[in-house]
């Protein structure tokens, strides 16, 4: 890709402390995109030109400003209720960021903890946890999430919990595998001889050694989780309207698609794609950088 040359040119001017930035495949552009989305999400109130939840019915279906009939008042047009698409995208970034990161972290904490316990304690604890992991992994992630959402009802908080419940199994399985081999290493045996309790060993000796894998996995899961959230919102069991989530916008825009109101689906879709693409690229880079063993993931 031509972006790599740009990246290295830019990186050459940075101070040496950031020397890792100079490496040929440092994902500067994905990082920038994620940074911009995060910035927009934090300062949504200041950046959005209009209220994302209130529109005027007089201003329905305005096209983006460069098309005939569009105005600079609504840069990216308006939707079926006359709400400003740009403002909704800006606030939607907040939903995606908050849900995506909290769900990944929630799943990561639960999965890593149970993975360590399962791998280190072994025995029946391991059996119970791993049988649950096996069974839950067999459930198609999206169907499972829809099922849970149908029971607990839609809200942002519930989505985070649901996605955490659906995705912790992947961390647990990988972390357990790592713990099984760490357990046989000298430093763990010495800790046992030195009289450390099981909990101390898990916390002080095992945990720091699996954190890298958990972080790599988290970065790879971010894209999956964002797509899952958008899918749930798209199906109407995710973030409840009128809250602007990109998935909700896509499903609202679907009706307008046949009459040619393309901006209602293309813009939110591109936002999802950019965010997922960036986190996948970042995850790939982290994987190679932090944990060569996970390369085949």
């Amino acid at each position: 890709m031509s972006t790599t040359t740009e990246t290295s040119l830019l990186a050459a001017q940075l101070p040496s402390r950031f020397s890792f930035v100079r490496s040929r495949d440092f994902p500067l552009i994905p990082l920038l995109i994620l940074g911009i989305i995060a910035f927009v999400a934090v300062f949504a109130d200041l950046l959005a030109p209009h209220d994302p939840q209130v529109g005027s019915l007089a201003a329905r279906f305005h096209p983006p400003f460069w098309l005939a009939g569009g105005s600079t008042d609504y840069l990216l047009g308006t939707d079926q209720l006359g709400r400003d698409v740009l403002s909704r995208l800006i606030f939607g970034a907040r939903v995606s960021m908050v849900v995506g990161f909290t769900a990944v972290i929630f799943a990561g904490v639960v999965g890593t903890t149970l993975g360590i316990i399962s791998g280190y304690l072994g025995g029946w604890v391991d059996q119970v946890i791993m049988r649950v992991v096996d069974a839950w992994l067999a459930l198609p992630a999206l169907s499972f999430a829809i099922f849970l959402a149908a029971i607990v009802g839609p809200s942002e908080m519930n989505i985070v919990i649901i996605l955490g419940l659906v995705f912790w199994t992947r961390y647990a399985r990988i972390v357990r595998g790592e713990v099984l081999s760490l357990k046989e290493r000298e430093f763990v045996r010495l800790a046992i001889v030195a009289g450390c309790s099981k909990w101390t060993i898990m916390r002080r000796h095992i945990l720091p050694n699996v954190v890298n894998s958990a972080i790599v996995l988290a970065s790879l899961m971010l894209g999956v989780v964002i797509i899952a959230e958008a899918s749930l919102s798209f199906l109407g069991v995710g973030v409840p309207p009128p809250k602007p989530a990109w998935g909700v916008m896509l499903s609202d825009g679907k009706q307008g698609l046949m009459v040619g109101y393309w901006w209602l689906t293309v813009f939110p879709g591109c936002c999802i794609m950019l965010m997922v693409l960036s986190s996948n690229l970042l995850g790939d880079w982290l994987r190679v950088k932090l944990d060569p063993q996970l390369r085949q993931l």
Partner: protein, 306 residues
């Protein structure tokens, strides 16, 4: 071999039990299941009747055994909206899902296998990078966005293909492509790595030493062995496709199992939602079991492992 099959059967059985426990647990723990099992707007008396009918006033253990007994008889409850048993409803939609999955699978193999071979044969070349980019896009473009873009382009602007529904072969093209897209990337990645592995083996070197042309070495000798893992994955993915098509089927109004799940959610038809999820999980457990056994038949080394 017998021992291996028995052990794997045991694991699958445990998985199925844990699955049913999970579903049972979540339905019971998150509130009164009666509110999920009656139609919205039902009266107090109706709810009380449901409590009695489904034994919700009895101890949890008894409830679970009842739930399992019904499952074992293939009774997944009654759909409120369609007024018919969920299992019948599911079976009536399954052929559509299978058709969609089969066509989507052909698309994904037709794209994935040639690009994977090309990327493996020309490692580090333009084709390899193009393949990597394609694989990345496959993982990053959500299927609903691909679907909506295709509707916009092929139905709205060009007017070539119907935007939704079913009936003709034309209706199949877009949903099958949107569904196969993601899997094409996975198949391409596996095809590439498996081809690379085979190309490094002794017998390929021998074939080259014999002076066989490149096309014959790749197309005949290498492909035969490199294809096995890809086809295994394709077998598993076919079942997975039936169960992950919710979004694509919703976008294109394709009357499959996934659409049934969506209808279940939007009509608050809880028995349907529960039934589709249980059957989907069970289907995948069974396929995993079959693949494990098949592997053991092919490769004796696996049988000896624990």
């Amino acid at each position: 071999m017998k021992q291996f099959i028995i052990r794997r059967l045991g694991y699958s059985l445990i998985s199925l039990i844990v699955l049913s426990l999970t579903i049972f647990f979540f339905v019971r723990v998150t509130g009164d299941p009666a509110t999920l099992l009656v139609e919205p707007g039902a009266s107090e008396a109706d709810i009380a009747a449901i409590h009695h009918q489904f034994g919700l006033d009895r101890p949890l253990v008894v409830q679970y055994l009842l739930f399992m007994a019904n499952l074992a008889r293939g009774d997944l409850g009654q759909s409120f909206y369609y007024q018919m048993p969920v299992s019948e409803l599911y079976l009536s939609r399954l052929p559509n899902s299978l058709l969609l999955a089969a066509v989507a699978m052909s698309f994904s193999l037709l794209i994935g296998i040639p690009t994977g071979i090309l990327a493996a044969v020309r490692v580090g070349s333009f084709w390899d990078s193009a393949g990597k980019l394609f694989a990345l896009l496959g993982l990053s473009l959500p299927s609903f966005f691909v679907g909506l873009l295709m509707i916009l382009f092929f139905s709205v602007y060009l007017g070539w293909l119907p935007s939704s529904g079913s009936g003709t072969a034309l209706h199949l093209i877009m949903p099958a492509f949107a569904l196969g897209w993601y899997f094409a990337a996975a198949h391409m990645r596996l095809m590439r790595s498996s081809m690379l592995e085979v190309l490094g083996s002794e017998y390929i070197k021998l074939a080259r030493l014999k002076g066989l042309p490149q096309a014959l070495v790749i197309g005949k000798h290498a492909l035969k062995n490199a294809l096995t893992p890809v086809l295994t994955l394709a077998g598993i993915n076919l079942v997975l496709m039936i169960n992950v098509a919710v979004i694509v089927e919703t976008v294109f109004a394709w009357p499959g199992v996934g659409r049934l799940l969506y209808e279940g959610v939007s009509f608050r038809d809880f028995p349907v939602v529960q039934g589709v999820v249980i059957l989907g999980g069970a289907m995948i457990v069974v396929v995993n079991l079959l693949v494990d056994i098949l592997y053991a038949v092919i490769d004796p080394r696996i049988r000896l492992e624990t």
